[in-house]
Symmetry: C2
Subunit: 199 residues, 2 copies
DNA sequence: TACATAATGTACCGTTCGGTATAATAATTG
DNA sequence: CAATTATTATACCGAACGGTACATTATGTA
């Protein structure tokens, strides 16, 4: 039989993950309690454990989903604008608008989580996954810049890796600045200053 | 009598605060337990409460001390170099070296704490103090840039406020990048790219 | 209908948390 | 040497935590 045996679960895995994403995004791994999670996801603790494992395992699934969605969004923006420099600026300003939006969740899940990486506070697997998430985001920018250089839209003497690191750092800085209460105008001013690194 | 009555405390307030600073720096406000704090500070819970109040009050004292020490350090670096642009770069590279140092505490206390600002996770007073700490740090840079313009070392058409916001964002980004495992060479590359915003 | 399977709600476990009452101890004043 | 005053250590409190055992209920197959 290809059909599932027994009682099927009456909730959707992905939507439940999205609810969990919101909770972790707002509270972080530590501060998000199982009560918060089960309440937001609309299921009981045993159901949560049966479907996603323990809290750490759930966070890792949520983080992976976040990165995938994020990369897709970035790619869509880059593809919507043929001029490489304008595409980057459009990408940055879109991110700034999202970060400056005061309605939760605020900031960036990865940046928020990275701050909690310390001693015993965060499981090693989570720290590792967060580091990899930053690398994935930076690699996405790197690919974009290499392509721009190949297309002659970015000066060849510029180091694409360094530029990717710079703009990754910029995004993280914008996320922190936004959480500190900076309005969108300030983030846009920062972006304008940063764009001078392009050429 | 000007002398204190009763048994004097047999520990130093400032050194105890420094120990608490290390603990909060590594673990953040939430994850730092009273057991961690009393152990590192070398005093019992009642002594801690008598001297510093509750955990939130202690954190606020620690944060204020951190900001004061930080601003002093920044000022010392700026004063050690007459050329404004070189002073800024020296300042940034010194910060990068500290951030990239793998021996704990890692990152920036303010940036780490800012990430935890969400819903019920962090007391409002702490969020407010963290925001103010970012503003203080940015104001320190702003003063430096205004002075540089007055001395003719920074182009007058540049907006000093925007530049201060940009380099504040850069510092936050460097702190996050460092926690994600970036080596000092990468941070230095980011700084080199960022310095193009100066002129 | 009867059985099998899996998800569900409830109640609970041990641990750790922040914070405090109590009692003993050490140091300064007269 | 007493008396005073504040610090100290121990033990404890209620609450919240992550995680789980158990019995129940709902859905599928035959």
């Amino acid at each position: 039989m290809a059909t599932e045996r027994g009682r099927p679960r009456n909730f959707d895995l992905d939507t439940a993950l999205d609810r969990a994403l919101e909770v972790f995004w707002q509270h972080g791994f530590q501060a998000a309690s199982l009560a918060d999670l089960t309440s937001a996801m609309g299921l009981s603790k045993p159901s949560l454990y049966a479907a996603f494992g323990d809290k750490e395992s759930l966070y890792l699934k949520v983080l992976d989903r976040y990165v995938v969605l994020q990369i897709e969004q970035h790619t869509a923006i880059f593809n919507s604008e043929p001029d490489a420099r304008q595409a980057l600026e459009k990408f940055l300003r879109t991110m700034a608008a999202l970060l400056a939006d005061p309605t939760p969740p605020c900031g960036c899940l990865i940046v928020n989580g990275m701050a909690d990486c310390g001693l015993a506070s965060t499981p090693p697997a989570i720290e590792q996954a967060l580091r990899k998430a930053v690398q994935r985001s930076e690699a996405r920018l790197h690919r974009q810049f290499v392509r721009a250089q190949r297309d002659g839209q970015l000066a060849p003497q510029i180091n694409a890796s360094d530029l990717a690191a710079f703009f990754t750092s910029l995004l993280a800085g914008l996320a922190v600045l936004a959480k500190s209460g900076a309005k969108r105008a300030k983030l846009d001013a920062v972006i304008s200053a940063a764009m001078s690194a392009w050429c």
